[in-house]
Symmetry: C2
Subunit: 162 residues, 2 copies
C-alpha cells in the first residue's frame, strides 16, 4: 500500500525514511503482450514464439527483461510510488534472477534503502529504493536498486518548475 | 561495426576479449513513439504531452528511460551485438545521464570490460559489456554496464539446447 504523507497527498523528499515500504497493484503478463513487446524492442526467438523458444537457452517463451522492467515502472507509476513531481530515475542496478513467463502475475514491493539530501540543491534529494518485482509464486523476477530524484514537497507544485 | 568471429558467424564466449568494441545502427526517437511507450508503460506528464511537460522537472517532453533502454536493446539485437544463442542479460548497472528528446537519433557503442568463464558450467561464461547509448550530438543518454550470459560457440546451435 502506498504511504502518502500525513496530509494524504503525494510524497516529497522530506517524507521518505529508510525502511519505508510500498506495494504496487498487480499486472498479468499474457503471451500476446510478451510477443508484441518483443517485436517492438527485443525480437529474439525466446521472446517471440513458443515453438522457436523451445530450442533456446530458456526452453520456453519468456518476457524480455526490458518488458518486465517497463511493467514494473507502470505498476509504480499507477499506484506503487506516489512521489510529488513524478518518478524520476537517475539510474540503478538491475537484475533478473528468473524470467517472467506467460500468465505470470507481477507485483512490485519497494523499500527505501537510503535518503540522501543534495548538498548543492536544497530543494531536492536522492532516494535509493530497492524494488523487487515478484510473480504469483512470490519468486523475484527483477530486482531494481534505483536512485530516484525527489523534490521537496514545497518545490513540487506544477508552478514552481523552471 | 560488429566484429563477427573469423568465420563470419555469430560470436560465442570464446570469441570475446576485453576491449572489443561494437557499434549499432541508428534509431530516431520521434515524439509519437515517445508518447505511445509512455501510455503503455510510464504514463507521466513529462513523457506524455508537450504542454504538460513544460511544468515539470524536465521542462519539455522527454522519453521514458525505459524507452531508451528498450530501443538500446532493439539496436543491439538488430545489429550491434551478434551473439550466438542471443543476447541474454543477467542484469547490470544502468544510468541515464541525460534525457532522450523527440528527434534524437540514438546509436549504441559497446565495449567488452570483462570475460568471465563459468566455474561450474564449462559450456558458457559471462561477458561484462559497457554500452553507451549516444544521441546525434554524441551526448551519452544511457550507460548500461551489463552482464551477458554467453554460451560457447559449439554449445550454441539450436539443437544443443535442453
Amino acid at each position: 500500500m502506498p504511504e502518502p504523507d500525513s496530509r494524504g497527498g503525494l510524497l516529497g523528499f522530506e517524507d521518505f525514511h529508510v525502511g519505508q515500504r510500498f506495494v504496487s497493484g498487480k499486472h498479468v503478463m499474457d503471451a500476446e503482450a510478451i510477443k508484441a513487446f518483443a517485436r517492438a524492442f527485443d525480437p529474439q526467438p525466446f521472446h517471440l514464439n513458443e515453438t522457436a523458444a523451445k530450442a533456446t537457452f530458456f526452453g520456453a517463451l519468456v518476457a524480455s527483461g526490458w518488458h518486465t522492467a517497463a511493467v514494473t515502472m507502470r505498476l509504480q507509476v499507477e499506484q506503487g510510488l506516489p512521489i510529488a513531481g513524478g518518478i524520476i530515475g537517475i539510474g540503478g542496478e538491475l537484475s533478473w534472477p528468473k524470467p517472467t513467463r506467460p500468465g505470470d502475475t507481477l507485483q512490485v514491493v519497494s523499500e527505501v534503502k537510503e535518503v540522501i539530501p543534495s548538498r548543492s540543491r536544497p530543494d531536492r534529494g536522492v532516494v535509493r529504493m530497492r524494488s523487487e518485482t515478484r510473480n504469483q509464486h512470490d519468486e523475484v523476477v527483477q530486482i531494481l536498486d534505483a536512485k530516484l530524484l525527489v523534490p521537496r514537497r514545497e518545490m513540487a507544485s506544477p508552478n514552481s518548475g523552471s
